[in-house]
């Protein structure tokens, strides 16, 4: 059988048939592939399009070839993108992948596509740009939804940051009160990038003629709950200070209030009462688990003062003792949160010694003292503190 067939159908025509069939197949694939094909000159003038492209766009190939540039069939954004990005890319690297474009169809409707472009050079023929276009209608819809979600997420993040900033402003009085005979300055720097509410707070308020309370503290934790507790601590302090005179008593009452408060948060708090006495101030200091404040006399080295006491809001019957000192003209007191002394560079802590050394150097106004300390601590941590920093400086004036 096979011999007869060989005789009837010689070999060459069979090969030719196969070659012709392959060519037909290739041509069919080119024309009807499930993607649009466009061939252009390196300048972008269309040389050939396939039937799929004609079907998708409604443009007739015969009307485009030799006349129209591929970029002319794009929406204006795509046209500019083609000229400013794609054409240079093709010149420079010979190809571009997965470029999102919009074709303008003959009826004016838009067809979202993803384009792969390849500059086919050499092979003895003129250079050609081969463009394959995938219909991306569904995908574009999906991308738009993603975009909307992203915009929404960014918006809500922005609102949260705004809320944090607003909340922070209410916790930290912008400028301390003007007090005759006392120069007061405060600085505050939230941790990290400063877009979260921190747990540090301070307050300065009057309880009688020539009688003032300065409070500074650090609520454990961050965020909205810490802010709520900060606010609770501040109004409790104000309310207690209106009735009670001694800082240790004020702190003890705050301790009771915090223990019954639904929050599990505790705090370190420092309360200083300043009572005018001649040209100086009598200073009574109560310390609840807080780093000791620094007294810098007009003459002589800076030193810490006060009696350490128990953390506030953690235990019943805390150990809280008042200490008394005097603030004369030119003397300064500096209150700070542990963001100062526990500021870290690598494994090194900022520490008390460095603090005292710095305060010995800054022998000027309250504002310069507070800012000078903050700047030094920030420098120490390369400007990115890991904890909030609050500093209040008080300086006696005559």
């Amino acid at each position: 059988m096979s011999e007869r067939r060989v005789a009837v159908h010689p070999r060459r025509p069979v090969e030719e048939d196969q070659a012709a069939a392959a060519a037909r197949e290739a041509s069919t694939l080119f024309e009807r592939a499930p993607c649009g094909f466009v061939l252009t000159s390196p300048d972008g003038v269309i040389g050939r399009v396939n039937q799929t492209f004609e079907r998708w766009t409604g443009h007739r190939g015969s009307a485009l070839v030799g006349q129209t540039r591929f970029a002319d069939l794009l929406s204006v954004g795509g046209r500019i993108y083609y000229e400013t990005h794609l054409a240079p890319l093709l010149r420079m690297q010979g190809s571009a992948r997965e470029i999102a474009l919009e074709l303008v169809r003959a009826d004016g409707q838009r067809l979202p596509v993803l384009a792969n472009l390849e500059l086919d050079s050499g092979h003895g023929r003129p250079d050609t740009v081969q463009i394959a276009l995938m219909d991306a209608t569904e995908r574009r819809q999906y991308e738009r939804e993603l975009m909307l979600e992203k915009t929404r997420a960014e918006e809500s993040e922005r609102r949260a940051r705004e809320l944090a900033r607003t909340l922070q402003r209410t916790l930290i009085p912008p400028t301390p009160a003007e007090i005759p005979g006392l120069d007061v300055a405060a600085v505050y720097r939230p941790a990290g990038l400063g877009d979260e509410v921190g747990g540090d707070f301070y307050d300065v308020f009057q309880v009688g003629p020539g009688d003032w309370i300065v409070a500074l503290g650090d609520i454990c934790g961050k965020g909205v709950e810490a802010a709520v507790v900060s606010s609770f601590v501040r109004f409790t302090l104000r309310a207690s200070a209106a009735r009670l005179l001694d800082p240790a008593e004020i702190l003890a009452e705050l301790n009771r209030a915090l223990l019954v408060h639904e929050s599990e948060r505790f705090a370190t708090v420092l309360v200083v009462r300043l009572t005018r006495s001649g040209d100086a101030w009598e200073v009574t200091t109560g310390i609840g688990g807080h780093p000791l404040p620094v007294l810098r006399p007009a003459e002589g080295p800076a030193r810490t003062f006060g009696t350490p006491g128990t953390l506030i809001g953690a235990f019943e019957g805390p150990d809280l003792v008042d200490s008394r000192s005097r603030l004369g003209p030119g003397d300064s007191i500096v209150l700070y949160t542990d963001g100062v002394t526990e500021g870290r560079r690598g494994r090194t802590m900022y520490g008390d010694e460095r603090l005292l050394r710095l305060l010995d150097l800054h022998r000027d106004s309250a504002a310069e003292t507070a800012q000078g300390l903050l700047d030094d601590v920030l420098d120490f941590q390369d400007g990115r503190p890991r904890d909030d920093i609050a500093v209040v400086a008080l300086r006696g004036t005559s």
């Binding site: 002319d72 240079p88 738009r144 975009m147």
Partner: protein, 264 residues
């Protein structure tokens, strides 16, 4: 940080020669000049740089507020040229950088003694008796499409540069930065570029200026190049037999020839 580092300045050519400053346009970076700038490195001190937000410019160089208008980019050029101590320089600006050069020249008249504008446009939008090449609605469509970020400019869609052994002239130093711009920067740069109108500044240019115009340019059509050359007190128009908006890449030889005649 000094301006030279901020703008990824690349210097070549003899330091004692007249400076020639190349400023790239919207979209890509100083690699746009790679077929043109080296041709001048024998006779000029060649200065190439990246605009803020483009290519190898330092991220800190970009300021959304300052770079919301072309003046911000022009101020950068002035600061950069002053830092390098340039005077009597040839400024070569592609596309939007042609107008950035004009603004820099008006702000600091001593810097440039000649300007070359490659495919410039002082105004992209058509107007009563002016042809910019785009209808106002088209530019707004462009800006909207950038805002909604669904064109090729989104970061996910940004074209990725791959090594290409078939085109060794690209060299290895061509990094992934070419034509790859942060979508937010691209959006703002597009706004600053395509809404700009600097026609009024052209008559105030006091130095000889060469306008290089491609025969087929979808972004800056021939009518625009003619308008620019006509509006400049000392403007000359040179037509390049090239299509597209980037003759510095598609027709570098013709570009170099026209520039040589001008600066000779």
């Amino acid at each position: 940080m000094e301006a030279a580092r901020r703008h990824n300045v690349v210097l070549s050519g003899p330091p004692d020669r007249r400076p020639m400053v190349f400023a790239h346009g919207f979209g890509c970076d100083q690699n746009m000049w790679r077929f043109v700038a080296p041709e001048f490195a024998d006779d000029f001190r060649v200065v190439c740089f990246d605009h803020a937000g483009a290519g190898g410019a330092h991220p800190a160089a970009y300021d959304p507020e300052r770079h919301a208008s072309l003046q911000g980019y022009a101020d950068d050029v002035v600061a950069l040229c002053r830092e390098l101590g340039l005077e009597d320089a040839v400024f070569v600006g592609h596309s939007v950088s042609a107008m950035i050069g004009v603004l820099a020249h008006l702000a600091a008249p001593g810097l440039f003694s000649q300007i070359v504008m490659v495919c410039p446009s002082p105004r992209y939008i058509d107007d009563d008796d002016y042809t910019g090449g785009f209808a106002e609605a088209e530019i707004h469509e462009l800006l909207d499409s950038l805002d909604s970020n669904y064109l090729g400019w989104s970061s996910a869609m940004a074209p990725v540069i791959m090594g290409n052994p078939d085109r060794p002239q690209l060299g290895h130093e061509l990094t992934a930065s070419f034509c790859r711009t942060d979508p937010d920067v691209a959006r703002r740069f597009a706004r600053a570029t395509f809404l700009s109108d600097h026609r009024a500044e052209l008559p105030r240019v006091t130095v000889p200026t060469l306008v290089l115009q491609c025969t087929q340019d979808a972004i800056a059509p021939v009518a625009v190049g003619e308008y620019v050359a006509r509006s400049l007190p000392d403007g000359r128009l040179a037509m390049l037999d090239a299509s597209g908006h980037c003759p510095n890449l598609s027709a570098p030889d013709a570009t170099v020839r026209a520039m040589r005649r001008f600066v000779a």
